[in-house]
Each structure stands twice: as C-alpha cells, then as structure tokens.
C-alpha cells in the first residue's frame, strides 16, 4: 500500500468528517435535551456557508460576514426550537420527525429562492496554497476546519464536564422531569442547546466553503451523514457521535479510493447497517427472537 495515497485519502476524509462530526454532535445534544431528533441540523451548516459566501460576494469583510452567519445560525436554531420543537415535544415521534423535516425543507427552499441554485465558493481564509503532510497535499484551509472542530468539540466537552450549565444540560438529557424538580428550567436548556447547535453548525459550514463550496442543497448530505455518525455513536454521548462522524468521513473517502467511487455509499451505509444489526443483537449466538423479552 502506497502510504502517501493512504494519507491523502485518510486526511481528506477527516476534513469532511469534521463537519459530519459537528452535525452528529448537534444531533445528539438536541435530541437528548429535547427528545426530538432534529433533521434540520444539516441546514445550519448550509446557512453558515451560504450567508458568509453571499455577504463576502456583496463586499462585506470576511470577519463581519462570518459573524453574521454564526449569529443567523444561532437565531435559526433558537427560532426552530421555539416555534417547531417546543410545541410538539409531547407529540408522537413520527410527528416530531415530520415537523423537523418540514423545517429543513422550508429553510432549504428559502435558501434556493434567495441565493439561487448556483454554488457559492470562497478563496481560502488565509491562503489558497497547499501544504504537504505525509505525502498528502491539502489546502491550508483544512487547518482552520480541523482547528474549528477541535475548538468546538473541546469547548463542548469542557462546558458539559466542568461547568454548572453543562451539569444542567446533562441532567436534562438524563431525566428532564427530575431536572425540573431540581429547579432546572429544561425548556430554557433546550432552547439554549438548539441555539448553540445552530451557531456551531453555521461555523462549521463557513470554514468549509473554501474547501467544498456551498449551495442551497448542501445541508442534505451533511445532515444525512451527521445523523449516521450520531447513530454510530449510539445517540447518547456527544463525544462518541463526534467519533462516529469522523468515522463516516474516513470510511467514505477510503472506500471511494480503494474500492470504488461508484459504490462508496453502498459501502458506507452497508457498514452502518451491519453495525446497527450487530448492536441490535441480530447476530447474537445462542439467542432466538423473544429471548430478550423472556429474560425480563
């Protein structure tokens, strides 16, 4: 195996994997505090990229455009939570999922009307040049992607593990009723997490624009892969969801490179299916259907 080629596949897979990881983390945080799986998660990434690229195209300085995109992403998370998540928290699961899917379609459609169907790109924030690492060639922008991801994952870990707010979030995610009884405003925590999730998604989206461009429908792919990463991580731990997202990015790049670009989704989703079936006990030796229920 050519090590430089492996490095190229793996490192570039880790670039897109970073976005999947942040989306996966958003999925898990939002689902745990609200009980709702938010399928509009990928749209935060799209909004971040599209707003930044559009504003820069209109002559707005990059820093101001990026700030506006993050604020808009946060606002979108806030509004979505207040208008479409809070009112349906006790509705059946299929209603919740349908509502978040509808919210995603709505955001996407507005983006199409406002920004059009053409993709938007940006030059690298620092440089459009490339650097070499282990024989792999990467644009300098990926350092920003990796850095932003590390900062957001590290910051979230610190917040959850070391602060009173983090303890409150964890408490709400474990048992909202008990949290309410302990004086924690679980509704407020939910709004806060959605808002932060919107902001983080937007930040991930804007740092990715120079690497991948962005268009009105970019959020679909990020949302789907992020959701898959969250599933791989078990949908409980933000850290495991992050690792799941990175694994998806890595798997699709390696399978496209070493097996076939035509069948990379078959391989990625086939592996996921297999993993979930193994996790679900589908291949457990010595058990028959119903054994699990009988044990209880």
């Amino acid at each position: 195996m050519d090590l430089a080629t492996f490095d190229q596949f793996a490192l570039s897979g880790l670039v897109t994997g970073c976005v999947y990881a942040l989306v996966a983390m958003g999925f898990v945080l939002c689902a745990n505090v609200s009980g709702v799986v938010n399928f509009a998660q990928g749209e935060y990434v799209m909004i971040g990229g599209l707003v930044t690229a559009s504003l820069v195209g209109l002559g707005v300085p990059l820093a101001a455009a990026a700030l506006a995109a993050v604020v808009l992403g946060a606002a979108l998370g806030f509004v979505q939570e207040r208008l479409t998540v809070t009112p349906i928290r006790r509705a059946p699961m299929f209603v919740q999922i349908t509502v978040t899917l509808a919210a995603a379609v709505l955001v996407r459609s507005v983006a199409l009307v406002v920004a059009g169907k053409d993709p938007y790109g940006l030059p690298g924030f620092v440089s459009d040049d490339v650097f070499e690492i282990g024989g792999a060639i990467l644009p300098y922008q990926v350092l920003l992607v990796w850095g932003a991801t590390a900062a957001m994952v590290g910051g979230t870990g610190w917040l959850l593990g070391r602060t009173a707010l983090g303890r409150a979030i964890r408490c709400v995610s474990i048992n909202p009723l008990a949290a309410d009884l302990m004086g924690i405003d679980s509704a407020r925590i939910s709004t806060l997490v959605f808002t932060a999730s919107g902001a983080m998604g937007a930040l991930a989206g804007l740092v990715m624009v120079p690497v991948t461009s962005v268009s009105w429908d970019s959020g679909i792919e990020y949302g789907l892969k992020g959701f898959t990463g969250a599933l791989l991580g078990g949908f409980r731990s933000p850290l495991r969801a992050t690792l799941g997202g990175l694994a998806i990015g890595l798997a699709e790049s390696l399978s496209a490179g070493y097996i076939s670009s035509q069948s990379k989704d078959i391989i990625t989703y086939g592996a996921l299916l297999l993993y979930l079936m193994v996790q679900g006990g589908a291949f457990a030796v010595g058990r028959r259907r119903g054994d699990h229920a009988e044990a209880h």
Partner: protein, 379 residues
C-alpha cells in the same frame, strides 16, 4: 330540397372546404412558427439563450425579405422546464391552424415527451437537445437539431487519439448524462485505440472528490476528461488543481460559464483547459460562411453569439430551409426537412435521412481550448 335549404347546405359545405384547405397551408402574408421554450424553471438558464438564437435568425430572415415577401413571426410558449407542461403547450401549438412547424427549445425530458406524441399531432417538430433517442429511432414528424452525446464523445476521443495521446482517464457524475458519457467513452475509446486507465464517478451531493482525483493522478493518464456538470464542478476543479493533476484536462462544455469562473477564482484559472464543444462556439475564429453567419447572429443579438445562441440560430435556419424548399404544408415541411443533406449552418452541417432524424453529427464537434479568456479551436 328547397332553394333556401340548398343554399344553406352549399354555404356549410363551402365553409368546411375552406377550413380544410386552410388548415395545412401557411399564409403567404404572415407565416407563424410555433416554439416551445423553457423560459422559467431550472432549464431556463440554458434555453433562454437558445430562444434568443431562434429569434435572431427569424429576424435575419425577415431582414432578407421574409417568407415570399410576408413577415415571419414566432408563437412562443413556456413549458416551465416541465415535460408534462411541454406536451400541453405542444398540443396547443399543434391545434393552431396557422402553425405548420414547431421548434422545441427545451430540455431532453420535455423533448422526449413531445417526441412520444409527435405522430399523433402530425406537425413537424425540431428539438434542441443532445439525447440520441430524439433522432433515432426516427419518429415521422420529430427531428433533433443538435449533435448527440455520442457525437461529442466520439469527437473528443478522435481528437485525443489524433494528438498522440494513448491513455485516458474519465470522471463523470452518477446522473443520466454523466453515466451516458462514461458508457460511451468506455465503448469509443478502445475502438479508437485509446486505453482508459481510470474511470471514476461522483454524486452531485458529494463534498469530497480527493479519492477519485488521486486515483486518476496515480493512473498517470496522458489525457483526462473531467465530465463535471452543475453543482460540484467548482469544488472538483479546485481540488484537481490543488492535487496537482498536471496532464491535459478537458471539462464538460456546460461548465464554462460565469458562475464557474467566479467559483474557481477567475477565468484565468481555466487557462489551457479543453472542452468538446459545438463548432458554433468556435465560430468567431472560423472563416467563410460560418464567420459570416456568426457575425449576422452577433449583430442582431447585440453581443457575440454564444454556443446556445448559435444552437437556436442553426435550428431556425433548418426550419427556414425546410419551409422555403417545400409547399409550406405540414407534410411538405416534414418531407423537405427529412430530405436535407449537409445544410451549412454556424455550428457545422445538418443532414437527415428517413431512418436518422439526428441533424448535426460529429462533424459539428470541435475541441475548444481556453486561451486568454476565450475559447478557441485547439489545434
């Protein structure tokens, strides 16, 4: 029968005969050509330019005196880039007794839907798309104006071989057009003595193309056809440059557009890139009749005619030729169109045969190269 009743019957019969006689023949004073264009919806970005090209040629025709001294006009209806609506407006035009020929400036799905009902409507129709099935098998009343995808790929393969290259790598999207190109290249390249050393695919929703491009780089092809269309074109082209793929590269002609240039950091970034393209796009650097027609089209349009403009112009030229060499009836125009051999137009020549309603062929394909911000014929 009383005298009064006889007069009534005679009047009704005369009216019927007059209507029947008037139905198939175009008026000498005011010839109306039907046109269906995708003026709204996703295909509008392309087809508006084709519609402009048609209008320019009709204006040129009128400037030269029109049809037998009468004015030629266009009845243009919008299909909204939608195949169902295309058939609806096609029916409307076919039922209009003033109209004896229809131009379809619409995307392939709309034109395929129109072809399916063309025998029923029995009005000669000429469509401006590249899908081979529009021309073959031949439907009695339906004609394709533009070269087929196979003509484009064949032109590319023969040019690559003629310029001393021996190996080829291809990258195509997973959609119908991309996979049609990939399938054709896998068939045509070996037949022309070219070896395909890498054949990669991507999905429009993909965000990372490194694996495909690295595999192509590692295969060390002499020439790379990067069939990028639409969404991810900019990202793929940027990654192609970043990953230092240094072999000669051709991209799909539809990617040469202002949004693409802006996305890749300016038109200078595309310097030296090749594309298989209809000769209409290369006409500004041609000579003789081609250049003369190109100048006339550009003068009427008010800007240098684009590839899509010349596609519309050439289609209308074919219609003009068929009307001028026929009796002006629907069947007369159809027969004249089918009998056309090597009609010179801006983008090459147009020919039809009873079993091939394909119009332009590989002779209409040139290989363009971006030089100094202009696409010129690659020598």
């Amino acid at each position: 029968m009383t005298g009064k009743a006889f007069l009534w019957a005679a009047a009704v019969a005369a009216a019927g005969l007059a209507a029947a006689a008037g139905a198939p023949r175009a008026s000498a004073e005011d010839l109306v050509i039907g046109e269906i264009g995708s003026l709204t919806g996703p295909a509008a970005a392309f087809d508006k330019s084709v519609v402009d090209g048609v209008a320019a040629e009709i204006k040129d025709w009128n400037n030269r005196g029109g049809f037998k001294g009468g004015k030629v006009t266009i009845e243009l209806l919008d299909d909204g880039s939608n195949a169902v609506d295309a058939v609806t407006v096609y029916r409307k035009l076919a039922q209009d007794k003033r109209i004896n020929v229809v131009i379809g400036a619409s995307p392939s799905p709309s034109l395929l839907a129109m072809k399916a009902v063309s025998d029923e409507f029995a009005i000669p129709t000429i469509g401006t798309a590249t899908v081979a099935q529009l021309g073959k098998p031949a439907a009695k009343y339906f004609f394709r104006a533009l070269p087929s995808t196979e003509d484009y790929m064949s032109g590319l393969v023969h040019w690559v071989k003629a310029h001393g290259y021996h190996t080829l790598a291809i990258l195509n999207p997973s959609g119908a057009t991309g996979q049609s190109e990939a399938t054709l290249l896998k068939k045509l390249a070996p037949a022309a003595g070219l070896k395909i050393v890498a054949a990669e695919t991507y999905n429009d929703s993909d965000t990372n193309f490194t694996a495909q491009l690295v595999n192509i780089r590692n295969a060390k092809p002499d020439f790379f056809y990067c069939g990028i269309i639409g969404g991810p074109s900019v990202t793929i082209f940027k990654q192609l440059k970043q990953l230092r793929l240094t072999m000669p590269v051709a991209i799909h002609s539809s990617s040469f557009n202002p949004a693409f240039y802006a996305g890749i950091g300016g038109i200078a970034q595309a310097e030296g890139v090749y594309t298989p393209i209809e000769r209409g796009a290369l006409a500004s650097s041609a000579s003789g009749l081609t250049l003369d027609l190109f100048k006339r089209a550009s003068a009427i349009l008010g800007h240098p005619a684009t590839n899509l403009n010349t596609a519309g112009w050439d289609t209308a030229m074919m219609v003009e030729h068929a009307i001028e060499t026929s009796d002006g009836t629907r069947d007369g125009i159809r027969n004249a169109m089918e009998a056309t051999k090597d009609l010179p137009v801006i983008g090459g020549v147009m020919s039809y045969a009873p079993d091939d309603h394909g119009g332009k062929d590989e002779r209409s394909i040139g290989i363009g190269r971006m030089v100094g911000g202009r696409i010129v014929e690659a020598k």
